[in-house]
């Protein structure tokens, strides 16, 4: 099967997914959807890493896969902290919409 799909295919899918995630993070009102957009961007970067690992000159060095696994772990931690922040802000201001949380004064 490999050799059937060129590396460019995977890179284009990753680029498109990244752009979709970025569009979601920049255009939606709700804070949680911004976090979903960020997760999509991280996932697109992971796909890039794994694709380069697979098609690279030394796949037995496992660099790309290790990087992707650490990225998955860090992204999960970041999602946890980010969502904790969103919940905490909701408790304080009773809204999760970013347009309404535009003032620095608490």
């Amino acid at each position: 099967m490999i050799g059937a799909t060129p590396l460019a295919g995977y890179l284009l899918v990753a680029a498109l997914l990244f752009a979709i995630g970025l569009a979601g993070a920049l255009t939606r009102r709700n804070a949680i959807l911004v976090l979903i957009g960020i997760e999509l961007m991280l996932n697109a970067a992971n796909l890039n890493l794994i694709a380069f690992w697979r098609y690279g000159p030394h796949p037995e060095a496992l660099t790309g896969m290790m990087f992707a696994i650490f990225s998955i772990a860090v992204a999960a931690a970041e999602a946890a902290v980010g969502l904790g922040l969103v919940i905490s802000i909701y408790r304080h201001t009773n809204t999760a919409e970013l347009d309404k949380i535009s003032r620095m004064k608490g």
Binding site: I2, A15, G21
Partner: protein, 200 residues
């Protein structure tokens, strides 16, 4: 480039006609002119899931659509022979991150749709920026198609190799990630904890 590919393609055809059954699909795949159908399906699934997750109105639908996107990505990892990364993706993202997102949606009353609509006032600018980013990335990928290798042998990666790498070459990142996860766990608990009611 296409002429070179044509020469290579016809060479493959001649080789195949001499030594194996003539299979036009296989030769087209070796050319890179026809992508694997599984890759097409998975790519469409992932991109559709991602697109649905940023455009749907109801938050829980968005969370379920992003689950589809994560599942599509996990299957793409499996197609790239990265089984450990694929299963870790399912376990961590679908098994934990999506559940976290869903809990956050439920705890912040995401079911109440805002009156002014779900997209912010400055949505055209955001869309333009995303399109520009995709244009730059896509141009960079297509420009460098010649430079990257097109075929690779299947790497024999066992879990044992990953384990040895994790405690050998990558032990420092492993320990740092462990510290980071501990800090993130404690931080998330403290950030989301109810403040103690102080009586004044």
């Amino acid at each position: 480039m296409w002429r070179a590919k044509g020469v290579e393609g016809s060479a493959v055809v001649l080789f195949a006609a001499r030594f194996g059954t003539h299979d036009p699909w296989r030769d087209a795949r070796k050319d890179g002119r026809l992508l694997s159908p599984i890759f097409y399906i998975l790519a469409v699934l992932t991109l559709a899931g991602g697109l649905a997750s940023v455009t749907l109105k109801h938050l829980v639908h968005c969370a379920l659509a992003v689950t589809v996107a994560f599942a599509g990505l996990a299957l793409l990892f499996l197609q790239l022979d990265a089984q450990f990364a694929g299963f870790a993706q399912i376990l961590v993202y679908i098994g934990a991150v999506v559940i976290l997102i869903v809990f956050a949606i439920l705890l912040t009353r995401g079911s109440d749709l805002p009156k002014e609509g779900v997209f912010s006032k400055t949505w055209p600018v955001g869309l333009l920026i995303a399109a520009a980013v995709f244009a730059v990335l896509g141009w960079a990928v297509l420009q460098s198609v010649r430079a990257v290798p097109q075929q690779a042998a299947v790497p024999a990666v066992t879990v044992r190799d990953i384990g040895i790498a994790l405690v050998g070459r990558y032990v420092l990142p492993l320990e740092i990630v462990a510290l980071l996860l501990t800090a993130a766990t404690i931080g998330a608990v403290i950030v989301a904890m109810h403040e103690k009611v102080r009586s004044r």
